[in-house]
């Protein structure tokens, strides 16, 4: 293994490959910042450019683009509340309120430091434990994966507002329903296509994300224009950025969530199918549940913990998602699926044999990920004030430009103008649901996990001859399902518990008064 690491290091420090990391990070940040163009699009756009490069250089470039795009997507989440990719949806929950309070600089700095920590810890864990972690994930069966997906979906309860759990569950169901549209993956029959050719492949994730977040968010700002004076003040505060420096107290506040979320994110990222998106949602949910008193109330209002947790988790998970890709040949996320395509285009079949046959390539990608993190921190943090200049564009110009980026982001992937029209229709539905206070993120989570959830449930049922006993017969499955049930039902049962607690206290006070 040491020989492999040294070979990888020598490949990664080659001037050409170092340049590829720098170029990748910068290009990725730029593309990621544009709402609609997330890491999947950024990497897909890079594939034709990498054909002329050596496999290691090409893959290092794409890994840099991946990191850069996630960093850029976080910046757009914070600055304009338009997540560039699903993994940074949660970043907007607390990042944007911070920006609106005039602390955009601080929010971006926390995001950069948390991403760096998550990425660094992820890269170290990957270096140390890649083979072992690969064997752990090998022992997972369909039933465990199904339970893990259910756990991922139950996280919606953790980040939905008070009294919103039922609505969040319903939106998750809608997401799962949307995921069933298209050709069934096991039997190849069409479902809910109504004879439309455009629906045979189902809905595009990018299209749904753009329609329900970037487009709907932008149009909501048009539908509900705030007080012009407030808006001007807000915009002035956001464009001023504020200080990039963090106080000792703030560092202390974010340190523990960052470390916890890095480990959680990496573990989630290693499991095939559970990528950076689930990691960020889970990390946010965990930190929110762990927080007490005022710290808990701050979640959604501009909490530094709520910003640091998903940011470190999504970077650690991005690193972790390379484990199943490189060692098992299974893409851990949509982005690594695109990378898998790129590897195959180079004639390299990822899997256990890649570890033996191309050790220099295997380890150079892992080492260059760490370099990518350093470069993002060194190069991109000073660039933040320039990136924030986007906010000084007048509203009559900014709104149409964001709309254009969103619709072309989808159009440039498929070159199908029908997608734009479907997007407009979904955006109208999303606007209606937003006006009725339905959360959008659970729908996306349901959509992302829908296909995998169905595949694993089908396999588990077929193996178990149609019996549901797999839910309680496998300890790992039972553990995941139990945690999911606790996460989902605790907010529903909390009012009952609070009522009984208040009654007990009342009885106690009554007894005390009687005793006196």
């Amino acid at each position: 293994m040491l020989d492999g690491i040294l070979a990888g290091l020598s490949t990664a420090v080659m001037p050409m490959n170092l340049m590829m990391v720098i170029v990748g990070c910068l290009v990725g940040t730029f593309i990621g910042m544009l709402p609609g163009l997330g890491p999947i699009t950024a990497i897909a756009l890079m594939i034709p450019l990498t054909y002329s490069l050596e496999p290691s250089s090409g893959l290092i470039l794409m890994a840099g683009v991946y990191y850069g795009a996630i960093f850029g997507a976080s910046s757009s989440s914070i600055l304009i509340n338009a997540p560039g990719c699903s993994a940074t949806v949660v970043t907007a929950f607390d990042g944007n309120p911070l920006a609106k309070k005039g602390q955009a600089g601080k929010a971006l700095a926390v995001a950069a430091y948390a991403s760096f920590t998550g990425g660094t810890l992820g890269a170290i864990m990957l270096l140390i434990a890649a083979p072992a972690l690969a064997s752990v994930s090998l022992s997972f069966q369909s039933a465990d994966y199904f339970a893990l997906m259910v756990l991922g979906l139950s996280a919606v309860a953790a980040f939905s507002g008070k009294g919103q759990v039922l609505k969040a569950v319903m939106m998750t169901i809608v997401g799962l329903m949307l995921a069933t549209v298209g050709t069934d993956r096991s039997e190849g029959v069409e479902r809910f296509t109504f004879g439309q050719l455009d629906l045979i492949d189902g809905f595009s994730f990018l299209l749904l994300a753009m329609a329900t977040f970037a487009l709907a968010e932008t149009l909501m700002s048009v539908l509900k224009p705030e007080n012009p004076n407030n808006s001007a003040t807000e915009q002035k505060m956001m464009s001023e950025l504020g200080s990039l420096k963090l106080t000792k107290q703030e560092v202390k506040t974010v340190a523990a969530p960052t470390l916890r979320s890095s480990f959680l994110g990496f573990f989630v990222g290693v499991l095939p199918g559970a990528g950076a998106t689930i990691a960020s949602f889970l990390a946010y949910g965990v930190e929110r549940n762990l927080a007490k008193g005022d710290a808990k109330k701050q979640f959604g209002e501009g909490s530094l913990k709520g910003l640091a947790a998903p940011e470190s988790a999504n970077n650690a998970a991005s690193t972790g998602s390379f484990v199943p890709l490189l060692t098992l040949g299974i893409p851990g996320s949509g982005t690594t699926a695109v990378l898998l395509g790129a590897l195959i285009a180079y004639g390299i079949q990822p899997g256990p044999r890649m570890y033996i046959e191309h050790p220099d390539l295997f380890w150079s990608i892992i080492i260059s990920m760490y370099f990518g993190n350093v470069i993002l921190l060194i190069l991109n943090l000073p660039l933040i004030p320039y990136l924030a200049k986007l906010l000084s564009i007048p509203r009559p110009y900014l709104v149409p430009m964001i709309l254009l980026f969103s619709i072309t982001g989808v159009y440039l992937v498929s070159f199908n103008s029908m997608d734009i029209m479907i997007m407009v229709a979904i955006c109208m539905a999303a606007l209606g649901l937003r006006l009725l206070n339905f959360p959008m993120a659970p729908m996306l989570l349901g959509f992302i996990l829908g296909g995998m959830l169905e595949d694993n449930l089908r396999r588990a049922l077929l193996i178990g001859d149609g019996e549901l006993s797999f839910l309680w017969e496998r300890p790992l499955t039972l553990t995941f399902i139990s945690i999911a049930a606790m996460v989902l039902f605790s907010p529903l049962l909390r009012p009952l518990w609070e009522r009984s607690k208040a009654r007990a206290e009342y009885e106690k006070a009554k007894q005390k008064a009687a005793a006196k």
């Binding site: 319903m170 149009l219 109208m428 089908r458």
Partner: protein, 154 residues
């Protein structure tokens, strides 16, 4: 009686779940597949049942408050922008990326309240050309010039 937004939401989801559940019976099955433990219909029918149950709970537990006031919403520009985007989708293949984008931007700037037509046109042209150059020359993406271009150039 005033209907709360929770009940309206519940009703919409009930209709959606019923519609989804009804069409789940149209999913074709292979002969004998109905005896399989899992078919392409299994998950959709389970989801439809969950959706119906959740909708009924929401409608029963929904309060009587109607928090969203539609009176204060500025519908007109938002609706116009939606129409502009829809039109962009219809015209982009016919007009080509550059022309359709310039027109979309000029119209959208106008909808958003920009009154200086010359400034709007200059910004739209400069922005579109820069964006087109980035896509085609830097990112090497081929953009179809559009049917209109082919008409004029034979």
């Amino acid at each position: 009686m005033q209907i709360s937004n929770q009940r309206i939401g519940g009703l919409i989801f009930l209709l959606l779940s019923l519609f989804y559940g009804y069409f789940s019976y149209d999913i074709p099955l292979f002969p004998g597949a109905e005896y399989e433990p899992f078919t392409p219909r299994t998950l959709p029918q389970f989801l439809a049942l969950c959706g119906i149950a959740c909708s009924i709970i929401l409608m029963l537990t929904g309060g009587s408050d109607f928090r969203t006031s539609v009176k204060h919403l500025v519908w007109r520009p938002a609706a116009k922008l939606l129409v502009a985007m829809f039109a962009y989708g219809l015209l982009v293949n016919w007009m080509g990326f550059v022309l359709a984008t310039i027109i979309f931007l000029v119209v959208s700037f106008r909808i958003m309240g920009e009154t200086q037509h010359k400034k709007a046109l200059v910004v739209a042209i400069l922005f579109t050309v820069a964006f087109w150059a980035l896509l085609t020359h830097v990112l090497d993406i081929y953009l179809e010039p559009g049917q209109l271009w082919h008409w004029f150039n034979g």
